[in-house]
Each structure stands twice: as structure tokens, then as C-alpha cells.
């Protein structure tokens, strides 16, 4: 299964709420997805219902947390890209199939990513996420 990542429908809806100055929050949290086999990212995934049978990790250092760094950048036109970095440190042996990038309220998933294959993390292993998303005029 190829690594794949998508902006979810609920993530786009949250973005539109922000543009309309309706109650909504920006990109602020990240959480690892738990599943024994590789998942496939889907636009229809939601915070409560990730891709396939994946669930959010709730412990062992892989649970939802504030993203370490979020910054703006330029890919094609000024300020068209958002960059984010985060490090997870596992405190037990766990499978990580992917990640969710979520809003500040921890109720909307903006981006869902399913890795090339399930990552088998052992106690003290670290997983550094380096992501970017561009809204392209092309």
C-alpha cells in the first residue's frame, strides 16, 4: 500500500468556517493512528472515524498532542503553504499506521496520512513527522 495523505472533507469545512469567521479553530493537534495493517487515507474520514478500522492512540506517547511547530511558507505563491513538525516518543511497543492532523478543539481532522507500511515502534523509539500542505493556484 502506497503512503497516501488527504485533506478530509471535515477539514475543508473547518477551513471554510475560518474564512467565514464562523466558530472554528486552526491546525494545532496531531495524533497517531493505531491499526495492525496499513490503512488507506480517505477524504470521508473524520476525527471520530479514521480510515478503515484505524483508531487514535490514547496512550504511550502517541496520543493527541499540540503540534511542536507550525509555520507558513511559500511554494508557488507567497504564503501558500503550511509546514508542521512533530516528534512522538513511544513509551511502549505500539503499531502506528498513520497520523491525523487536527484542530485546536480536537474534534476535526484536517489531514489524514497513512504510511507506506505500519511502523512497529518499540519503547523509547521516536517518530519525527515533517509535513507540508500547499493550496495551489495551478
Amino acid at each position: 500500500m502506497a503512503q497516501n495523505e488527504v485533506w478530509t472533507d471535515t477539514g475543508i469545512a473547518e477551513l471554510i468556517l475560518l474564512l467565514r469567521e464562523e466558530p472554528a479553530t486552526g491546525m494545532e493537534s496531531i495524533v497517531c493512528l493505531e491499526m495492525a495493517t496499513a490503512c488507506t487515507a480517505a477524504v470521508g474520514s473524520t476525527f471520530a472515524d479514521p480510515a478503515d478500522t484505524a483508531t487514535h492512540h490514547t496512550d504511550s506517547g502517541l496520543l493527541i498532542a499540540a503540534i511542536d511547530t507550525v509555520a507558513g511558507d511559500t511554494t508557488n505563491t507567497a504564503g501558500d503553504t503550511i509546514l508542521f513538525d512533530h516528534v512522538f516518543t513511544a513509551s511502549a511497543t505500539k503499531n502506528v499506521a498513520g497520523i491525523h492532523v487536527c484542530n485546536n478543539d480536537d474534534d476535526v481532522t484536517f489531514i489524514e496520512c497513512c504510511f507506506n507500511a505500519v511502523l512497529a515502534m518499540e519503547n523509547t523509539d521516536t517518530l519525527t513527522i515533517d509535513g507540508s500542505s500547499t493550496i495551489d493556484q495551478a
Partner: protein, 138 residues
């Protein structure tokens, strides 16, 4: 599918890597800790050794393989070119999946660094096919 929906496909793109490392410095064996640093004007995060600045041993790095751009004309040459790009992308994604599985299965063993870093990946469809077959029989 309407022309509008075709033109807006892929408007929001996401690229992401996940770097899995052991939590202990390869140089002195000390447990690594989260370090914020400046990359130009951007504040970033990584796991480094608080004593010597080293890092944990790389187990594997995941990559997203971006879908090829759609053809810009309907000439046979353009369509063939697109077809071969799709074929290459599919096999490249397959290669990275097998590479990630192999690197994790042999996390403590020596192997060519290309399997852990994902760099120097095959540049042709045939090269990807050969590499996938090799990884499956290693």
C-alpha cells in the same frame, strides 16, 4: 465529471515524511531529547543527544509518492507519457512500501542505507520492479 471538478482536483496537496529512530544516541548511548532549533527563519524540532548532539539510529523513513500531473494534451505522445508516469509512480510507491517493511523487519541489522533513508530510489519502472522483487526475497 464536469470540467470544474477536474480543474479543482489536487488543489490542496500534502507531503509528509515520518522518520523512525531509536531513542538512544548512536555515539554515546544517551537517551535523546526533544530539541527546538532554527532552520533559517523557521523554528523546527528534532531528537538529539543532550550530551554530544548525536541522534538515534535511523530505522526507516517513510515518503509520500505524489501522483503524476495529468496530461496537458490529447496527442498519443502525451497520453503514453502520462501512462508510463502512472506506471512508474505505482511501482515506486510499491518499492517504498517493501523498503519500509524490510527495514523494520531487520531493524538491528546492517543493510544498505538506501533502504532506511529511501534516497537513491530507482529512477525507472523496470528498476522499481527489480528492486521490489529483490526486497521480497532478501
Amino acid at each position: 465529471m464536469s470540467m470544474e471538478s477536474i480543474l479543482t482536483k489536487g488543489l490542496m496537496t500534502v507531503k509528509l515524511t515520518g522518520e523512525l529512530r531509536t531513542g538512544f544516541c548512536t555515539e554515546c548511548g544517551t537517551q535523546t531529547a526533544k530539541e527546538y532549533y532554527m532552520d533559517g527563519e523557521r523554528r523546527r524540532v528534532r531528537m538529539t543527544c543532550p550530551k554530544c548532539g548525536g541522534m538515534g539510529r535511523l530505522i526507516v523513513k517513510t515518503y509520500s509518492v505524489q501522483a503524476p500531473e495529468p496530461p496537458k494534451c490529447f496527442k498519443a505522445k502525451c497520453l503514453w507519457k502520462f501512462f508510463f508516469r502512472v506506471l512508474y509512480t505505482t511501482w515506486l510507491a510499491n518499492y517504498h512500501t517493501e523498503r519500509v517493511k524490510y527495514a523494520q523487519k531487520n531493524r538491528g541489522k546492517n543493510m544498505p542505507s538506501k533502504y532506511r533513508t529511501g534516497e537513491d530510489s530507482p529512477q525507472t519502472t523496470w528498476g522499481c520492479m527489480k528492486a521490489v522483487a529483490k526486497l521480497k526475497h532478501l
